[in-house]
Symmetry: C2
Subunit: 333 residues, 2 copies
Amino acid sequence: MTGSHSVLDNNSLDNMLKIKMPAVGIDLGGTKIMIAAVNSEGIVGETIKVPTPKSPPNILNKFVELINQIKKEHLIAGIGIATPGIVDTELGIPIGATGNLPGWTDTKIKQIIESQTLLPVYVENDANAAAYAEAHTRNLKDKKCVIVLTIGTGIGGGILIDGKVFHGANHGAGHCGHIRISTDNKRLCTCGLFDCYEAYASGTGLLATAKEILANVNPSQSPLAKDLALLSNEAVFAAFTNKDLIAEKIINTWHKHLAIGMASLANALNPDCFVLGGGLCNFINYELLNEMLIDLTLPKINENLKVYKSELGYHAGMIGAAQLILDKLATVN
Amino acid sequence: MTGSHSVLDNNSLDNMLKIKMPAVGIDLGGTKIMIAAVNSEGIVGETIKVPTPKSPPNILNKFVELINQIKKEHLIAGIGIATPGIVDTELGIPIGATGNLPGWTDTKIKQIIESQTLLPVYVENDANAAAYAEAHTRNLKDKKCVIVLTIGTGIGGGILIDGKVFHGANHGAGHCGHIRISTDNKRLCTCGLFDCYEAYASGTGLLATAKEILANVNPSQSPLAKDLALLSNEAVFAAFTNKDLIAEKIINTWHKHLAIGMASLANALNPDCFVLGGGLCNFINYELLNEMLIDLTLPKINENLKVYKSELGYHAGMIGAAQLILDKLATVN
C-alpha cells in the first residue's frame, strides 16, 4: 500500500505545482508584443514589451526568443498567445482580419511554436482573451453571459457564455463593434461598412462626433472649435473637465452612442454584466452610462444588469491567453 | 436469464413508446389558443383553435379542458406550453411583459396544470419555443448558433446555442426585435423605446416605412399614395407584384431594414443560420435579403451564413413547446 500512497502524494504535488505553475502569456499587437509569466492569479514577475517585428517569420522567432528568456526564470506549463484577427482556436491559426499585421493570416502559430518550444500552445483572438481574463479576475466565470467591450481606437468584443469564450459557427463571434446603430450610411467604419457601433462609440467615433458637433460651433462658444484639424479626444476630455458646455454635449452624445450598442447586445443576449476596457474606459462616467443603458433596455433584462470597468487594462489579453492555456491543461489532466 | 431478458424487452418497449408518445403542445396567444398532440416528428392528429378566455383562471381552466379532450385520443407523456412574455422556465411562470394578457404575469402555470393533470409541464416563451421547433425540424440542433426571428406585427426572437434555447442571465435573452438600429429617436416602438429593429422591420415597421415614403409621393406616381389612412401592407405587396415602382422602393427599404438587424446579430454572434418565420416571412425575397446581409457582415462571419424560411409557420410555438417537454423527459429518463 506504500506504493499507492506515494502515487497519491505525487498527484497532490502535481496538482499543487499545476495551480501555481505559470504559463507564458503573449499579446501580439500591431506595434508591440507584450509577454510575461502568468499564473491563475495574474502576472508573475516582469512584463516585457518589444516592438513587433515586420514579418511573420520574424514575429515567430521573436516569440521563441522571448519565451526562452522567460523559461530561464520560471518553470512553464504552456504558452497562450493573443493575436488580432479571427482565430481557429483548434488549429491555433489566425484565419482572417489581421489588417495591421501583413501576411499574418494563416500563420500556423500553434504548430510552429509547439515544435520549437515543446510546450503546449493555445492561440486566441485578443479581445476574446481579454474577455476571459476580465471574467476570471472578477469571479464572473459562473455567470450565464458576460460581454467584454474594449473601447479604444476601435471596439473589440468578447462574449463569455457559462464562463467559456463563445466562438459562434465560424470562430467569428464577439465582433460587437460591428453591430449597426444607424440605417443612414452616415459614418464609414474602418471595416469598410457604414454605421458600425465602432464608428460612433470608439475613440475614432468620439472624435468624429466632436467634429460633427463643433462644425456648427463658433470658437467664441468653445475654444475646441478653433482648429478642427488639430482636434483630439484628449482636448475634448480636458475641455470637459474645464466645464466647456460644448465638450459636455460631445461627451454626453458619446455616452449615448456607447449605451445604444450595449442596449442592443443586452436586449438580444440578456447578459449578467458588461466589462469595459481599453484606453477610453477611464473617461467613461459609469453612473451616466448605466442610467442611459437601463433606459434603453427592456424590463427584467435591465433588472440586475451591471457595468464594470476593466481591472486589468492593457494586460488583459496577455493574462487571458495564459489563463486559457492553464485552464485547458487543468481540464485535460 | 429469462427475467433479465424480459426487463430488457420492457426497456426497449418503454423507449419505443417514449419516441412515439406525444406531448400536448399549447400555444397561448392574445386572441387564440392552439393545442394539439405533438410527437418528435410533428403534429399528431387535429389542431384545436379556441378564442383566448378573458382572465387567467379561465385560461387555465380552458387549458385543462382542452388537455383532457386530447387525452381521450392519445396517451400523453407531458404538456408543453408556449406563452407570450419572459418565462422563468424552471418555475414555469411568466415573469414579465405579457401586455395583451392582463394579469397573466406571475401565474404559476406549471404548478397549477401539473396538479390538475398529473402530467409533467414545461412552460417556455413563445418565440423561444418556435425557435426550438424550427431548429428541431431542420436538424439544426447540433449547430453552434441558430437565430430564429418571427416577423409579424412585431419581431420575436429565439437564440439556440448548441441546440438549447439560450435564456441569458434572467430568462430574457432573444429579444432581438429590440436591438436598436438608429440613434435618432425617429420611430417609437410598442415597447416604449425608440428605434427598435421591430419598429422598422416588422409588419408595423413596414407600414410606417410605406407611409414615410408615400408622404412625398403624388397619387399619379403610385395609387398607394391616394389615402394613407387606409394603407395596408397587403396593398403594398399587391402593388409591388403589379410592378409599382414606389412599392418596389418600400419593399427594398424593408429588406434593408431586415438585413441591418440580422447583420448586427450576425457580427456579434456569428450564427450558422437564421430561420425567418411569422406572417411576413412569405413576402421576403430571400435572394435579395441574403445579398444585403452578406454585404453588411464581416468576412468569415458571412462565409457560410444561411437564411431559411420557416417550415412550421404558425404552428412552430405549439410544436416547440411539446418537443421541449418531450426532450426534457428523454433526458431525465
